[in-house]
Each structure stands twice: as C-alpha cells, then as structure tokens.
C-alpha cells in the first residue's frame, strides 16, 4: 500500500497488525518518498504496539527505524531510532538463528556504534556475531550481510585488539561484489578494503563501478549520500 502523496502518519484502528506491518514494509524502502517512510514508521510502531511478539511487525519496525536513523543528522535521534529498532527485535523473542532479524539488528547496532563512538566499541563483538548469523541469507539487500560484515572487518581495530581482519574483509567483499554486482556499496566497500591492502588500481576500478551503479533512479535519496562517500574515497585512491 504505497501512498502516492504526502500522507498523514495516522494509523487506522481497524487495521490488523499484519496489515500494518505489510504496509510498513512496503513504505520503508529506499525509493519511497520521505512522507511514505514516515507513514511506514508510524504503521510499524502501531503494528508492534498491537502485537509485540509478532515477527513481521518487529522486522518492519526494525527496518523502518534503521532507514529513518540512516538519514538522520541529529545524533541523539539516530541513537533513539537505532535503540528502538534493536529493542523491538528483542521483545519479539525471535530464534537466535533468524538471519533477517539478525541482519536488521546488526544494521541498527551499526548505526548505534557509529553514533556512540568510543563508548560503544565494546559492542563490536556482538555486531560480528549478528552478521555471521545474517550471513545465512546473503541475498538480503543484495549482499547486505556480506558487505556490512566486510566493512566492519575493514574499519574495526584489528587483531588482537578488535575483530578487524583485512583478509577476511576482502574475501567477503569480493564475494558480495561477484554475487551481487548490481549494488554500488558492494563495490565501494571492496574498494575500501583494497585500498587498505595497497591495491590502489583495483580499488579505483571498484570505485568506478560503484559510481556507475549509484543512481537516484535506483537508490533514491541514498544515492546522493553514497556518491559523496564514493568521491571521498576516490580522492584517497588517487
């Protein structure tokens, strides 16, 4: 139920949690208009409030909260949204092997760690564990679990202080770029790893691929953010 114009974030009392969760899942996507995503978040909150243990409602709210947090500039709001996304998944008591839940938990935890900085570095181990579970479904978001874990391995403090592991990162990111070549972040994150490994030429090639794939037609508002990141990395790779 994608809404064509700016809808009011008011949720009908007659809608079932399943209907609300399905509507939220439809509206919380990269190509949706900001108002659609706002509506999606409200619908997901309503679905979860009515059925806190329902998997679909928890997943929808975790997804909507992550998308809202990802574009949010206010750090306190980012933390609040990411915590909301993680809390609802905990409240749903999903099995620990639920790959999609683990992936959405990891996305929210990733934003939480990024925003909290040094006070959250101790959570990197949790993040790795979640992403390993999520890796059972590598097709989520076109290689999402592979590229997020790969990037974490690039950016985290390396052994023995943290989970950082450049070789493991390159392996995961090469797989993501090979199996899901249409997602620009798979190429961009591989470029980060290659650059750290001193493979500048290959890194530039991957940045070029990321640039070609990163269009607003396919990725909406996110394309502009990713393009900024692509240009920054290209400057480092020159």
């Amino acid at each position: 139920m994608a809404l064509p114009a700016a809808p009011s974030p008011v949720v009908s009392a007659e809608q079932t949690p399943e209907q609300l969760a399905a509507s939220a899942a439809t509206n919380c996507r990269l190509l949706a208009a900001p108002a659609e995503r706002t509506w999606g978040l409200a619908a997901a909150r309503a679905a979860h409030a009515r059925a806190p243990a329902a998997r679909a409602a928890a997943l929808a709210l975790a997804r909507c909260a992550h998308l809202a947090a990802d574009l949010e500039k206010d750090e306190a709001r980012v933390i609040a949204l990411a915590e909301e996304g993680m809390t609802v998944l905990a409240q749903a008591h999903l099995p620990p092997g639920d790959a999609e839940a683990a992936y959405l938990h990891a996305l929210n935890l990733g934003l939480f760690v990024r925003s909290r900085g040094m006070t959250a570095v101790g959570r990197l181990g949790d993040l790795v564990a979640l992403l390993k579970v999520a890796g059972e479904k590598p097709a989520l978001d076109q290689g999402g679990p592979l590229r997020v874990l790969g990037l974490l391995y690039v950016k985290a403090p390396s052994w023995p202080l943290g989970p950082g592991d450049l070789e493991a990162a390159i392996e995961l990111l090469e797989r993501a770029a090979r199996d899901y070549p249409e997602h620009p972040l798979n190429h961009l994150y591989l470029a980060y790893a290659l650059l750290d490994a001193g493979e500048r030429e290959r890194a530039r090639e991957e940045i070029g691929r990321a640039r070609e794939l990163c269009t607003a037609q396919r990725f909406g508002e996110w394309a502009a953010h990713w393009r900024d990141e692509i240009e920054q990395l290209l400057a480092r790779a020159r």
């Binding site: 040094m118 006070t119 950016k155 023995p160």
Partner: protein, 274 residues
C-alpha cells in the same frame, strides 16, 4: 606583578598560541583512518573534561608511523604523547620527552617480546640468520627492538630480512602457511595467539624477558609542566570512567600508573649503551 603571576603566567601566555597536542603514537599499529581520528578526538575531549581543560585546548592526533608523528610533534612542540617505550627512548632527546605514567594491561605492567616460528622448523635465533622476520613491533624504533627484544645480542635489521607488518594476524597466517620464517610478537599479541588453533602449528623460539613500559609522556615545556598533574590524574582515572571504560576494555588496558621522571633511567642506560 611577579608575585601574582607566579607559575601560571607562562601557561596563560602560551595559551594564546593554541591547543596542547595529545598525540597517540602507535608504530606498526593499524592505519585507523577517519574512525581512529574520531576515537582520538573523543579520547582528548574526555581527558580535557576530566582534567578541567577547555576541550579546544587539547587537540588529538593518531599516528601509526613514527616519522609522521615526529613531523607533527616538531610543529606542535607542546604535547602529551600516548606511546610506548620505543617512542620514548627513540625520541627522548629530540623532543625532550619526560615519562609520566605507565600503561598497565591485563597481562601486567611490563612488556615482553617473542619470536614465533613453525613447530620444529628452527631451533635457535642463529638458525634464523638471513631469514624473514615479520611483525608490527618491527615498525618501532630499531635500536629499541635490538636492545630490548633481542637483549642487544643482535641487530635485527642485519640479522634478519625484516618486514614490518601492520597486520600481525596476517603475518601469523603466512607463518603457518610456511610463507615466512618467523614473526616477532609483543605480549598482548602472544597471549591472544595462545588459545587460537593457529598456535598449534607454532612455537615460541625466543623470549625477551620483561621489558619496562611507559604509556604517557610529555614534551617538557613550561606549559606542559603546568598541565602535567591534571593530565596525569585524568589519565590515571581514565579506565574507571563510564565513558572510557569500554575503550580500555577493548584495548586490554587496565589503567595507567603515575611514574617518576627517573623511573626509566635503567632503560635509558640500556638503550644508550655503546
């Protein structure tokens, strides 16, 4: 005027010139990029708040190469430096460094270096002559490595084919795969390696024995001397603070213990002995 000015006048005069530096110098450590700079900035902000220094007056910078740290510290002469004994001994005279606090980790208050090889491959350092030696420790001051990791019995750069590596785990994987001959590890690295399946293929060939450590030092200027007590106190409390405790835990640091300026006199003698 002289009476009212007292010790604080040089501080006030120098304060007009800008911030005091907090340089984190970790030769052979990870190239932390933007994340490392952010972490360093957060650490400086926390220490400044704890020491009662205006946040803008303590500017952090992270370096994983001594040369770039030196360039920075020659421009920012008023500095507190978080770094190890190699940095202290190697730059003590050039930067007028004074030790302030010792870093205490889970494995104690001293350091130890170990050369690790594949099981049964080599029996002594003598047999490793001309062979490849990898390790992040090799990016530290060369004389320090010779005198403390090898007890002054050999010059590592002449004895081995040294290959400083930012990634010790990668070096150990190469060692297990028979692609290199030996890896030089510090104590934290060796303790992390012991429980790993990788260690089953490896053995310790040489241990340095205990090596003294330092964690915090300063360039001796009137301004750093004036701030010294506040900064040492803030650093000593660092790992007990709610905000910084997770960082200490992540980096295996239990805390910092204040030390006297002459606490490293013996280490200086060992380093400078002809």
């Amino acid at each position: 005027m002289l009476l009212t000015c007292g010790l604080s006048c040089p501080v006030l005069a120098a304060a007009k010139d800008g911030a005091v530096a907090l340089a984190i110098v970790n030769p052979g450590g990870p190239d932390a990029g933007a994340e490392g700079s952010k972490l360093a900035a957060e650490l400086a902000a926390h220490l400044a708040a704890s020491a009662g220094i205006a946040p803008a007056k303590l500017r952090a910078a992270y370096f994983n190469q001594t040369a770039s740290a030196l360039t920075y510290l020659k421009k920012h002469k008023e500095a507190f430096v978080l770094g190890g004994l190699g940095v202290f001994l190697g730059q003590r005279k050039a930067l007028k460094l004074v030790p302030l606090a010792r870093l205490v980790g889970k494995t104690g208050g001293d350091e130890e270096f170990s050369v690790v090889v594949r099981k049964g491959r080599y029996a002594s350092l003598q047999e490793l002559r001309g062979k490849t030696l990898l390790g992040s420790v090799l990016a530290d001051d060369a004389r320090y490595v010779d005198r403390f990791a090898f007890g002054g019995k050999l010059e590592a750069s002449k004895w081995f084919r040294c290959m400083p590596s930012e990634r010790p785990l990668s070096a150990l994987r190469k060692l297990a795969a028979d692609e290199v001959d030996a890896v030089l590890l510090n104590r934290v690295q060796l303790e992390a390696l012991r429980p790993m399946p990788l260690f089953e293929k490896l053995q310790v060939l040489h241990s340095s024995g205990p090596v003294p450590t330092v964690g915090l030092m300063m360039t001796a200027t009137p301004r750093t001397r004036a701030l010294r007590d506040k900064v040492v106190q803030a650093v000593s409390k660092l790992c007990g603070a709610e905000k910084a405790a997770p960082v200490c835990q992540t980096y295996g640091i239990t805390g910092f213990e204040p030390m006297s300026e002459d606490a490293l006199a013996e280490a200086i003698k060992t380093y400078e002995k002809r």
